[in-house]
C-alpha cells in the first residue's frame, strides 16, 4: 500500500484496528484526546465500540470487562489519567487480561502542563499500581512505530495474557510522518479462557482474588515466571551509529530523535558517539546495553525528566563506564545544538 501521511496519535488507532482491536474506552485529556477522537471516528466503521467513559477509572474498567470476553481492547490517556487507571491496570495484570494502555506523557507532577515529558517512566515500567506485576512498555519514536508498536503491543498482550503499554510524548503524537500500514490481521489468537456468555465458557472465571496465602503466592510466582520469560525473549532496541562509538547516548521517544541529530553534529566534529535506544522500556534491554560495559568511555543518559531511566542504565552497565545525565522538564525539549554541548562536555569530562 502507498504510504499515508498521518499523525502519530492517529497511527495508534489505525494500528490498533489493523491488529483486530474492536473497542476503545477513554476519557479526553490533552495531548492524548486525538486518539479518542480518531477512535470515535474509525471504530464504528469497522463494527467496533467507541465509548467516552465517565473518567479514566471507568475507562480502564470497561477495558477490563471487554478484555474478559477476549476482545482486543484499548484505552489511551496522558499522565494524570494514567495515574487514575493504575488500580485497573493492576487488576488486569492480576486477572491476566490482555489489553493495551497508551500514555502520551505530559508535564507533571500534579496538573503540570500539556507539553512533552518522559517523567512517567517509573509509573509505566515499575508498577504504578499495586502488587507484583509488570506492564510491558513499548516506546515508539515515529508515526510508523506508533502503528507498528501498537500492533506489537496487542500481540504481546495476548501472547502473555498481560496488559501492554505504549509510552510516548506529545511530539511523537502530534507529528505527521509517512506510515506504511500493514494488512489487517484476520486471524486472532483463540482465547479459551475468556468469558464469552456461551455454554462452553460458563466455567470460565476472570478474577484476581486468591484468599489463601499459598494460592496467591503460587499465582504471583506464575506471573513472575511469565515476566522472566518476557525479559528473556521480548527485548527490543535500536542502535544508531554505534559501530565505532567511543561514547554512547541512551534516549527514547522524541529525545532519541533529537539525539540522532546531535550525534550527526558531534560526528562532524570527530566525536565518536552513537545512540542506544530502548524500544521496550520494560523489558529493559539490560543485556544488549550491558554489552557496552567496558566498551564505551562514558554513557550519556538524556531524559525529559530529572532522571528515571538512568537507574536502569546504571544497573545494566554496573556504572562501568561512568554514566552522566542530562535532563529537561516542564516541556523544555533540548535542541540538537544544546545536546551537542552536552556531548562535548561528556568528552571533556571523560577523555
Amino acid at each position: 500500500m502507498a504510504k499515508q501521511l498521518v499523525k502519530g496519535n492517529e497511527a495508534i488507532v489505525r494500528g490498533a484496528i489493523l491488529a483486530g482491536c474492536r473497542a476503545y474506552y477513554g476519557y479526553p485529556i490533552t495531548p492524548a484526546s486525538e486518539i479518542a477522537e480518531t477512535a470515535a471516528l474509525l471504530m464504528p466503521l469497522v463494527g467496533g465500540t467507541f465509548l467516552q467513559a465517565e473518567a479514566e477509572i471507568g475507562a480502564i474498567n470497561m477495558v477490563y470487562g471487554a478484555a474478559s470476553t477476549g476482545q482486543r481492547v484499548m484505552t489511551a490517556s496522558s499522565s494524570p489519567g494514567i495515574s487514575l487507571k493504575q488500580e485497573g491496570i493492576s487488576y488486569c495484570a492480576g486477572a491476566e487480561l490482555p489489553c493495551v494502555v497508551v500514555n502520551i506523557n505530559r508535564g507533571g507532577p500534579g496538573l503540570g502542563n500539556i507539553a512533552p515529558e518522559q517523567s512517567d517512566y517509573f509509573q509505566m515500567t515499575k508498577g504504578g499500581g499495586h502488587g507484583s506485576y509488570r506492564l510491558i512498555v513499548l516506546a515508539p519514536n515515529s508515526a510508523q512505530e506508533m502503528c507498528d508498536l501498537t500492533m506489537k503491543a496487542f500481540e504481546l498482550a495476548d501472547k502473555y495474557r498481560n496488559p501492554a503499554g505504549i509510552l510516548t510524548d506529545g511530539y511523537i503524537g502530534q507529528m505527521m510522518e509517512p506510515v506504511d500500514f500493514p494488512e489487517p490481521l484476520e486471524r486472532l489468537p483463540e482465547k479459551a479462557w475468556a468469558v464469552k456468555a456461551t455454554a462452553e465458557t460458563t466455567n470460565n472465571l476472570i478474577s484476581s482474588i486468591l484468599i489463601s496465602a499459598e494460592e496467591l503466592e503460587k499465582h504471583v510466582l506464575k506471573l513472575k515466571a511469565k515476566y522472566d520469560e518476557i525479559e528473556r525473549t521480548e527485548v527490543l532496541f535500536e542502535e544508531y551509529r554505534t559501530e565505532d562509538a567511543e561514547y554512547l547516548a541512551v534516549a527514547f521517544g522524541i529525545l532519541s530523535r533529537v539525539m540522532m541529530t546531535a550525534i550527526d553534529l558531534a560526528r562532524e566534529e570527530g566525536i565518536k558517539i552513537g545512540l542506544f535506544r530502548p524500544i521496550t522500556l520494560w523489558p529493559f534491554p539490560k543485556k544488549p546495553l550491558g554489552a557496552w560495559t567496558g566498551r564505551a568511555r562514558a554513557i550519556l543518559v538524556a531524559e525529559l525528566s530529572t532522571g528515571q531511566m538512568i537507574e536502569d542504565v546504571k544497573l545494566a552497565v554496573a556504572c562501568k563506564p561512568p554514566v552522566d545525565f542530562y535532563g529537561r522538564s516542564g516541556g523544555m525539549v533540548p535542541t540538537p545544538q544544546e545536546l551537542l554541548q552536552v556531548i562535548r562536555k561528556l568528552r571533556e569530562d571523560h577523555p
Partner: protein, 478 residues
Amino acid sequence: MKDVLKKPDSFFSVFERKGGPDLASTHYCPGCGHGNIHKLIAEALEDLEIADRTVFVSPVGCSVFGYYYFKTGNVQSAHGRAPAVATGIKRALPHSIVISYQGDGDLAAIGGNEILQAANRGESLTVIFVNNAIYGMTGGQMAPTTLIDQKTTTTPYGRSVENEGNPMLVAELLSVLKSPVYIERCTLEDTKNIMKARKAIRKALQNQIDNKGFSLIEILSPCPTGWKLEPVDARQWLIDNMVKVFPPGVYKNDADRPARPIKPRPVLTAAQINKALGHEDKGKSAAAKIPPGFGTHELICAGFGGQGVLLLGQLLTKSGMYEHKHVSWLPSYGPEMRGGTANCHVVVSGHRIGTPYVTEPTLLVAMNQPSLEKFAPIVRPDGMIVYDSSFVRDVNLPAGIRAVPVPFSALANEKLDNPRVANIIAAGAVIGLTGIVQADTMRALIRELPKKQLIEPNLKALDVGLKSVEHIASPTTV
C-alpha cells in the same frame, strides 16, 4: 413454584471454588441476605433459560465470591467498578445477560459515578443492589446507606446528619434519570416481600433479554454480623428501622418500551477493513526517487491562524513523501503555542530524519510580520526567508540572509479574487525557489483534494506562486 430444596442448575451443586471442608454451604453468615438473593437470581436464570449466556460480575464486598456459586460466566471486579466492567462485557457480547451485583458501599460510595453513568447511558444491564446499611466485608464500617444514629465501627457515636449527611436514597436518585427502564426497591423482611423481590429480579432480567435498557433492583437485606444482632433480631431491625427510611416500591417503570433487536457484532474481511480505513492501495506515485545529493531542508511555516500555514506545511510534506523523500511535519504544540499565530515545522530530507523540531531553519515562510520577526533571527546563515510582503512593513532582517518578499495575499486577491489561496501561492514560491519538491507532485496532490471545487483555484494559485519567483532564481539547493 419450584421445590425449595433443589438447587437450580445455574448454581454449582458443590461449591468447589470455595475450598475448605464444607463445600455444601455458602460463605455467608447465618441470617445474611446475600444467600436469599443469590437463590432468587439463580432460580430466575434457570427459569428464563439464560444461565449459559449470563455473566455475573462480582465487585468487592461480601459477595465478591459470587463465582463460588453461580454456574455462569464470572468476572470479579474492582471495588465499585462493576457497572463499568459490565459495560465492557455487554458491548463486546451483545447477546449476553450481564448482572452487576453490588453492595451499598460498592455502589453508593466508591462506585457512585460508575452506577450513575451506566444508568444514564441506559446500558442494557441488570443491577442487583444489596442495601444492608453497612460495610459487611471489612467489618462493619459506615455505608452511605447507614441510618442516622446507627452505630458502626466508624460511627461509634452513631451516624449524624451534621457529620455524615443523610442515608443515600439510590432508587429515588436514579429514578429521576430518563434512560433507566426499571427501578424497584424490595426488602427481604418476610416471605411476601421476598416473593416481590423474586418477581422484580425476573422482570429486571426479562428487560435485559428484551434489550430494553438499564434495570436496578435495590434490596434491603440483613447483615446480622455487621449489625451485631442475632439473625431473627436482624430481620426485625430491618423492619423497624430500614423500611421507613428506604420505602419499598417501584420507582421507575418504562417496561412497556418496545424490545430492541440484539445486533451481533459484525466481522469484517481484510478488504472491508482497508476500505473502511481508507487504506486501499492508491498506487505508488510516479515521481522520481530521491535525487543524489539531496540534502536536508528544514522549514518553518508561520502566520496567523486561519492563513493555512499548517496546510501549506502538510502539502509540502506530503509532496516530499510522494517523491519517496524522508519527511516530517510538526505543528506548534505545547510551549510553542501562542495566541493567534500558528506555525509548523517541516523537514524534507534525503536521509532519515532525526529531530522533527526545527531550531535552525534553512527556509522560513512567514505569512505575517510577527512570524517574520520571531523566526528570522534563527534562520541559518546560508538559509532563506520568503515572506508575504503584502502585510510586512519596515522589517529588520538579519544581515547576509537571502530574503525574498512576495505579496502572497495581494496576489491571491488581485489575480485569483480569493484571499484563501495565499498559502498555495506561497507553496508555489517555495517550490520555485528551492525545488525541495516538484511542482507536478503538488499538482497531483491538489487534484486529490476531497472538495472538488477547490482543485482549480488551487492549481491556479500554485502557478501564480511559481511565476511570482520565476525572475528571482531557478531551483538552487538540491
